[in-house]
Amino acid sequence: MRHLLYLLSFLALYIVLLLLSLSIGAYRVYTPFEAITILLWGDGSHVDRAVVELRLWRSIAATMVGVGLAVSGLIIQRLLGNPMADPYILGVSPGAALGYLSALAPGLGYPVWYLAAFLGGLIAYVTVISIASIAGLTSLALIVVGVALSYALSSLLVIAIFLLGPQLGLATVWLFGTVAYTPKTESILLSVAVLAGLILVAVNRGALTALLLGEEVSKAMGVNVEALRLSMTAIVAFTVSLITAVSGPVGFVGLTAPWIARVTVGASFNRLLVASTIIGAILVLGSDVVVRVVGGGRELPLTAITSLVGAPLLLYLSVRGRYAGRL
C-alpha cells in the first residue's frame, strides 16, 4: 500500500540521517561503519568515543525536538481546525525567549535560564488560555488570542534585546535555535518530556481522529472537546516550552511536518501521528547535519536551515501529481 511505502522510506531516510549525524562533526569525520563500531564496541581512542557519544546525544536531542514540534503542530492543526497553525501560535516561543532573557540579566547560573525559559513559555500559554476562556475557549478564540499575545510578547522581546546591551547581546543568538548544546542531561530531559507527551497524545488518538469531522460531530459522538482542547494544548505548551528552553525556537517544523505527512499518507490521525513524528525527526536531524556539513566548525541557526529545507519540499509535494492545482 502506498502509505506503508512512504512510512518505510521515511524511516529509512531517518536511519541514514542518524548514521550521518554520528559520523560528521567538527572534530573528525568518521565513516558510518567506524562510528557504529566506536559507539557499540568502544573501538577507537578515548577521544573518539567521547566525540561519537556527544554526537549521539546531539542526534537524540535533534530527533526529540523534531518529534515534539511535529506532533505539537499536528495537534494544534487538528484542534484548531486550521492547517496554517503552528505550535508557536500559543505565544509559547516569545514567552520562553523573554523568560530566558530575563534570567540572564541578574547573572544567574545556566540551569536558571532554562527554567526561566520553560516557565516563560508556560506563563504565556496560561495567559492565552485565560484570556481565550473569556470568549468561551473556542478554537477561534485561541487562535486570535494566541496570535495577538505572540505579537505583543515579540515586541517586548525586541525591547528586551535592545535594553540588554552589547555584552549579553551574544546570548540572544540562542533565539535562532540550535541543538549543539544539548549533552546528555538535556537530551534525556527532552526525550522524557517528548515521549511522555507522545504517549498522552496516543492515548487520545480516538478523540483526535473523530475531530476530523469538526467539533460539532465529534461532540455529538461523545468527545469532550473543551477538555481535549485544554489538555492537548497544555501538552503542546509544555513540550514546546521545554524544547524552546533547551534548544531555542526552531521554526517551520511544527507547520511543515504535519503537512508533509498529510500530503503523503492522508488524513487518518493514526497514520498522521506516525508519519509526523518521523518527518519531524528527519527535518530537524537533517538540518543539524546540514549545519555541520556546511558550517565548517561554525554553528548555524537551525531555523534557517529547517525553513530552507522544508519549504521547497512542502511546495514540491503539494503541487505534484493528482493534487496539482487543488491545493
Partner: protein
C-alpha cells in the same frame, strides 16, 4: 798528630763554624724580611692595580654614560632641531595638510622627549634644564597648533568609520559620546571635558561615571540612543561607533537638527589607530591625537618585539560566552591582539562564531582566554560545560589539561573588549600571561583570574620597559 794544632786550632775551627751559622742565619732573616717586604709591596701593587682597574671601569662607565649621553644628547639635539624646524614651518602653514604634518611631528617630538628624559638619568642639571625648556617649547608650539587648528582646521571634513564624509563646522565645545570606546579615546586625546552626554556603559575614567551618576552628564543610551535627550543637549558633535546600527541611523535622524554624527571604526586593531586620528581631527586636538597614536604604536611595536623573543607562540582560543559557546574569530581587534602573542585557532572564521565543544577538541588550543562579561562567565562554567559534553575526553584539550585557562576581568577585561587606546593594556596582560618566561615569571605565577588586583602588569613591566611606556599603560588603569 801534628804538633802545634792544639787548643788554638780547635777554637779556630769552632769560630769558623759559628761564623758560618751566623752568616746563614743572617741570610735567612734577611731573606725573609726581604721576602715579606717584597710581598707586601706586591700586595700593595695589586691593590693599587685593582683600584686602578676600578677607576678604569668607573672611567669606562663614565665614558659609556658620556657616550650614551652623547647619543642622547645627539638625539636631544635632533629633537631640538626638529622642534625649531617645526617652529619655522608653523610660520609658513598654508594648508590643513601642512598643519596635520606639523601636528604629527610635534606629537612624535613630544613623545620622544619623554622617552629621552628617562634615558638621561644623570643629575646633570643643565641637561635636565634643557629638556624642560624643550618640553615647554613643545607645549607652547602645541598651543599654537591648536589655535591654528581652530582657525584652519574648521570647518573640517572627515571620512568617518563607515566611509561617510562628515563636516564639522567649528571646533566643538559640547560633545556627546555614544560608546565606551569613544569616551576612552576622547580621554586619551584630552577631550573628555567637552562631554555633555554619554552612554550608560562608559565607566572609564572614573570621573565619567561619577559625573554621570551626579547628573552632570546626560545619559543618552548605547544600543538605542535617545534622540530627544541628545537634541536637548544641543551638542556640536555626536560621536558613535560604526558597528552599532542605531548609531548609523542617527546620522539621518540628527541631520535636520544640524548635529553632525561621526562614527569611529571599531572592527580591527588598526581601526583603533584610525579612530584616534578621526577623534583628534574633529575635536581639533591634533597634537594630542598624534602623540597618543605614536605612543600607542610604540607600545604595540614594543609588545610585538617582546613577543618575537618567545620561542613559541601558543594556540589560543578566546571564549566570550559558554552557553551557547561563542569564540572570537578573525576580523576583530580582539583577534589582532591575540595574534600578537599567540595564534587564534578560530582566525579563519569571521567575527564571533558560535561553535560546538567538538570543535574545541579538534582545534586543540593550548591556552583559553575567557572574557567574564563582568563576572557572568567563569572558567568553571566553561570546564563544566566541556566535561558535560565530552566527559574525560575534555581534558584532551591542551588548555584544560595544562590548566591554562585565564579569565579576563575588571579593567583588563574592559580594555580587551573595547577598541580604544586602552586596549593596549590587554595586549600586555596577554603577553605576560602567555609568555611569563620572558619576564622571569613561572607559568604557575600567573593567576587564573586576570585583573589589576591579581596581576600587576605595570609592576612587571616597569622592570624592563621604558618609563613612558609604563606611564602610557598606567593611563589605561586610571593612573
Amino acid at each position: 798528630m801534628k804538633p802545634g794544632y792544639g787548643v788554638q786550632g780547635m777554637m779556630r775551627e769552632r769560630l769558623t763554624l759559628l761564623g758560618f751559622v751566623a752568616v746563614i742565619l743572617v741570610f735567612i732573616v734577611g731573606f725573609s724580611t726581604l721576602y715579606q717586604a717584597i710581598s707586601g709591596l706586591r700586595g700593595e701593587v695589586s691593590s693599587l692595580s685593582r683600584s686602578v682597574e676600578e677607576q678604569g671601569r668607573a672611567i669606562e662607565g663614565l665614558r659609556s654614560q658620556v657616550v650614551a649621553q652623547g647619543e642622547a644628547l645627539k638625539d636631544l639635539d635632533l629633537v631640538k632641531r626638529r622642534i625649531s624646524s617645526i617652529e619655522e614651518s608653523l610660520r609658513q602653514v598654508a594648508s590643513v595638510r601642512d598643519l596635520e604634518r606639523i601636528a604629527e611631528e610635534l606629537g612624535r617630538a613630544s613623545a620622544e622627549l619623554k622617552l629621552l628624559s628617562s634615558r638621561l638619568a644623570l643629575a646633570n642639571e643643565s641637561l635636565r634644564a634643557s629638556i624642560r625648556e624643550l618640553m615647554s617649547t613643545v607645549d607652547s608650539l602645541s598651543r599654537r597648533v591648536e589655535a591654528l587648528a581652530e582657525q584652519m582646521l574648521f570647518p573640517v571634513t572627515v571620512t568617518d568609520g563607515v566611509g561617510d564624509k562628515v563636516v564639522v563646522l567649528r571646533k566643538p565645545s559640547k560633545l556627546v559620546s555614544l560608546a565606551p570606546s569613544v569616551t576612552e579615546t576622547l580621554y586619551y586625546i584630552g577631550a573628555l571635558e567637552l562631554l555633555v552626554g554619554v552612554d550608560e556603559w562608559s565607566d572609564f575614567p572614573a570621573i565619567v561615571k561619577e559625573r554621570r551618576d551626579r547628573g552632570e552628564l546626560a545619559v543618552v543610551g548605547f544600543w538605542s540612543p535617545r534622540v530627544e535627550v541628545i537634541v536637548g543637549l544641543k551638542p556640536d558633535l555626536v560621536i558613535g561607533v560604526a558597528s552599532v546600527p542605531s548609531h548609523r541611523a542617527l546620522k539621518s535622524i540628527l541631520a535636520p537638527y544640524g548635529i553632525p554624527v561621526v562614527l569611529l571604526p571599531d572592527f580591527k586593531l588598526s581601526d583603533v589607530e584610525e579612530s584616534i586620528l578621526i577623534a583628534g581631527r574633529v575635536t581639533g586636538r591634533l597634537v594630542e591625537a598624534y602623540e597618543t597614536l605614536y605612543k600607542f604604536k610604540l607600545a604595540v611595536n614594543y609588545a610585538t618585539l617582546l613577543a618575537s623573543k618567545a620561542e613559541y607562540k601558543p594556540k589560543v582560543a578566546t571564549v566570550v560566552w559558554v552557553r551557547p559557546l561563542f569564540v572570537v574569530g578573525g576580523g576583530t581587534w580582539e583577534h589582532d591582539i591575540v595574534e600578537v602573542v599567540g595564534v587564534n585557532v578560530y582566525g579563519d572564521m569571521m567575527l564571533w562564531p558560535q561553535v560546538s565543544p567538538e570543535s574545541l577538541l579538534a582545534r586543540a588550543p593550548e591556552v583559553i582566554i575567557v572574557t567574564s562579561s563582568h563576572g557572568v562567565v567563569s572558567a568553571e562554567d566553561l570546564v563544566n560545560f566541556l566535561v558535560e559534553a565530552l566527559g574525560d575526553a575534555a581534558y584532551r584539550i591542551p588548555a584544560l589539561r595544562d590548566g591554562r585557562i585565564y579569565v579576563l576581568s575588571g579593567a583588563y577585561e574592559d580594555s580587551f573588549v573595547r577598541p580604544s587606546p586602552r586596549t593596549i593594556l590587554s595586549l600586555y596582560v596577554l603577553l605576560i600571561a602567555l609568555h611569563p618566561q620572558l619576564f622571569d615569571l613561572a607559568i604557575t605565577a600567573i593567576p587564573q583570574k586576570l585583573s589589576p588586583e591579581t596581576l600587576d602588569v605595570v609592576g612587571v613591566l616597569s622592570k624592563i620597559a621604558p618609563d613612558p611606556l609604563v606611564a602610557f599603560l598606567k593611563v589605561g588603569l586610571g593612573g
